[in-house]
Symmetry: C2
Subunit: 413 residues, 2 copies
């Protein structure tokens, strides 16, 4: 069996952590100066591993194996949230680098091609999942022209300043790229709660993002009796339990919904709110359930408006994302590898978070593997994973990678 080098893996992970390290966490927003610095370092490490490494026209670092195909692409992202953890994305990329090295060093696997990717801007500093969307051939020119970060910097300007604008972009190679593997931290508490070390991902959940805008009558908070108020905020607060009850009827244990933001208008202590906005996100692995939840919401809105006297309007905040099922054959390889390396220590789990894998799955079979997040925490400086789990996960992924490519060779010969 191919063996990874735990010290080399952990050393590279910790080196990458130094770029943007902030306390225990990392601030390395896509295409920021420190992110660009880390990309140059990463491309250098890929080159040392024998890959042809480039930073492409959107900022993705792509290390292409010099070996002929079939090739397995292993990747994730190295950009972070505004207050990000050190492993979210970064771990999967360094796994790819270590697996490329480990396979190259082992006589039985040295002929196998592993391409390694750090997709740009998974976290959406400018435009979420930009690198993987570019790779699968989605027309991203419009995103590049229009996207800006919170500081108002335009993506186009940032790419130009970095000398990347107009460079070729890494693209899916038909015939060569036969499978995609994305190892990642779980970002939830399921593996930890079950006492398991490895998760084989079944599905990446889909999601809906909606806004409910309640309209009442703005009025003086001192002179307007309770009995005649049309308080949009009070209506919003009263609506939520109805929604919760209705969603609970439809949900299974993995269904989640979140009211992440509430705005009352005008937001003054002495004014009865005339308007109230509530932003809602819900996620599920099952398209039919997502659809049923949305229909339930539409019915609640209809009832609310029929009842009066206030009004509520339901609108879409962002395009719906449909659930993406991971490739069963690739998942079986991950399961076999987990059985061999970590017998009894693995579990099939859905991914509650979005990942580049859901984009890459549009052009080739894709799979994902998780290691546990301590306390289920992520998108926070304190995000962490036990070192033994980091090492174990890389060994499982390397074992699966070798098996996936060996099967492809066997099929082609």
């Amino acid at each position: 069996m191919v063996k990874i080098d735990p010290d080399r893996l952990l050393t590279d992970l910790k080196r990458l952590r130094n770029f943007g390290a902030t306390g225990p966490g990392v601030v390395r927003l896509a295409l920021s100066p420190v992110d660009l610095e880390s990309r140059r370092w990463l491309a250098g490490r890929m080159a040392e591993a024998g890959l042809d490494a480039v930073i492409d026209g959107v900022g993705t670092v792509f290390g292409r194996s010099r070996k002929s195909g079939p090739a397995l692409v292993i990747g994730s992202h190295t950009d972070t949230q505004p207050t990000g953890g050190w492993l979210d994305g970064a771990m999967g990329v360094i796994y790819g680098l270590e697996i490329a090295r480990a396979l190259a060093e082992n006589d039985t696997t040295s002929h196998l091609a592993v391409d390694v990717a750090s997709w740009i801007d998974e976290e959406g500093t400018f435009s979420g999942l930009l690198g993987s969307r570019s790779f699968v051939g989605e027309p991203v020119e419009e995103s590049i022209r229009r996207a800006a970060n919170r500081e108002g910097q335009h993506l186009q300007d940032v790419l130009e300043a970095a000398g990347l604008a107009g460079l070729p972009r890494a693209r899916f190679e038909q015939g060569r790229h036969v499978a995609y593997l994305e190892p990642h931290i779980e970002q939830g508490g399921r593996l930890e709660a079950a006492g398991k070390s490895i998760g084989v991902v079944t599905t990446i959940v889909g999601l809906r993002e909606l806004r409910l805008r309640f309209t009442g009558q703005r009025n003086h908070a001192g002179t307007t009796p309770m009995s005649i108020r049309r308080d949009a905020g009070a209506a919003l607060v009263a609506f939520i339990p109805q929604m919760n009850d209705a969603f609970a009827q439809l949900a299974d244990a993995d269904t989640v919904w979140t009211v992440g933001r509430i705005d009352l208008d005008p937001g003054s202590l002495s004014v009865v709110p005339g308007g109230a906005d509530m932003y809602l996100q819900f996620r599920d692995a099952n398209t039919a359930r997502l659809q049923a939840m949305e229909e339930t919401l539409v019915a609640l809105v209809r009832d609310f408006n029929a009842q009066g006297p206030l009004n509520v309007e339901l609108t879409t905040v962002d395009e719906p994302m449909e659930p993406v099922t991971m490739d069963a054959a690739l998942a079986a390889h991950l399961a076999s590898a987990a059985d061999a390396v970590a017998p009894g220590q693995w579990l099939r789990v859905p991914s509650g978070a979005a990942h580049d894998a859901q984009v890459i799955a549009r052009c080739m079979p894709a799979c994902m593997m998780f290691v546990p997040s301590i306390g289920g925490m992520s998108h926070d400086f304190i995000e962490d994973t036990a070192e033994e789990h980091i090492v174990l996960g890389c060994q499982v992924a390397a074992t699966a990678a070798a098996a996936i490519l060996q099967e492809q060779w066997a099929r082609q010969s």
Copy 2:
């Protein structure tokens, strides 16, 4: 009986409306250029009416009668809300001007002294009720040094630029100032609902402004199962009905409470809120009830924290304001005048809004009189009052003003 001049009254009211007119409403924030312009105009009109008029060291326009006391002060404010109505405050000031003129023109009342005031910044652009607080001798130097408007302009700088800094400030004159009358629009719908034209104010309600800060655990909205969330926003939303039920037990028909603002932290669709702030105001004419409501809230907070696992913290946003009872003898004069001028058309009502009168009441007997607001609307461009009610209100106020001063003369002779 003294007779006001309806045309002169309405003409001056409409002239004042032109300063900052915006659609049907008015934008005339305290000490803004257009507000200063209107103050110069107002001081001019006062001088034409025979008053010694000044714009004082904080911006209050004070027109002092040349007649010896006893003097009645009639006033309100001419600054507006950011999106204000044309009568809120302005009507009471122009009533004062018209009553001073009407009394001077009538042989039986021409010896009576009426001082007229437009107190600066009732609406709190810089520091709420500043003019009346200065008049009663509250030390406002700290407010002047520290206050700034939403644009970050400092009050001190604005007063200096206007040439007002350091000028004398209008002050309560012991021996001369024997009573205060503030006519005002109702800003609520009680008079209209009862089909009445005049309100004699019993009490200005007190208020409490509090913040409830819920602390939970910020987490990923996709990967954190509903069962293990500590969603601070959900806790806030669940708390409100408990609070509503508890307050409803204590309330009478005039008690009001408002959640005017809610902030979820970080306010992102894809993050389970780790923090949630709710801003609460409640008002009542009864100090004991305000106290009971606050104690109820403290008990709910204690229960919430005892139950866990989330935490909530209750803090004061602004100093409590206690209810202020209007002077009974002055209110009796208003009632007699209403009986004479508008028999059967008047009502005793509380004031749900704060007014300069509650400050002035600290140094002399004070009373207030209301005219109806159409649809109960105020703090909005569409605020309005029927012209017949504006005229009727001024006649009632003039009749009461004469009676109040004549009683004082009779007492002193």
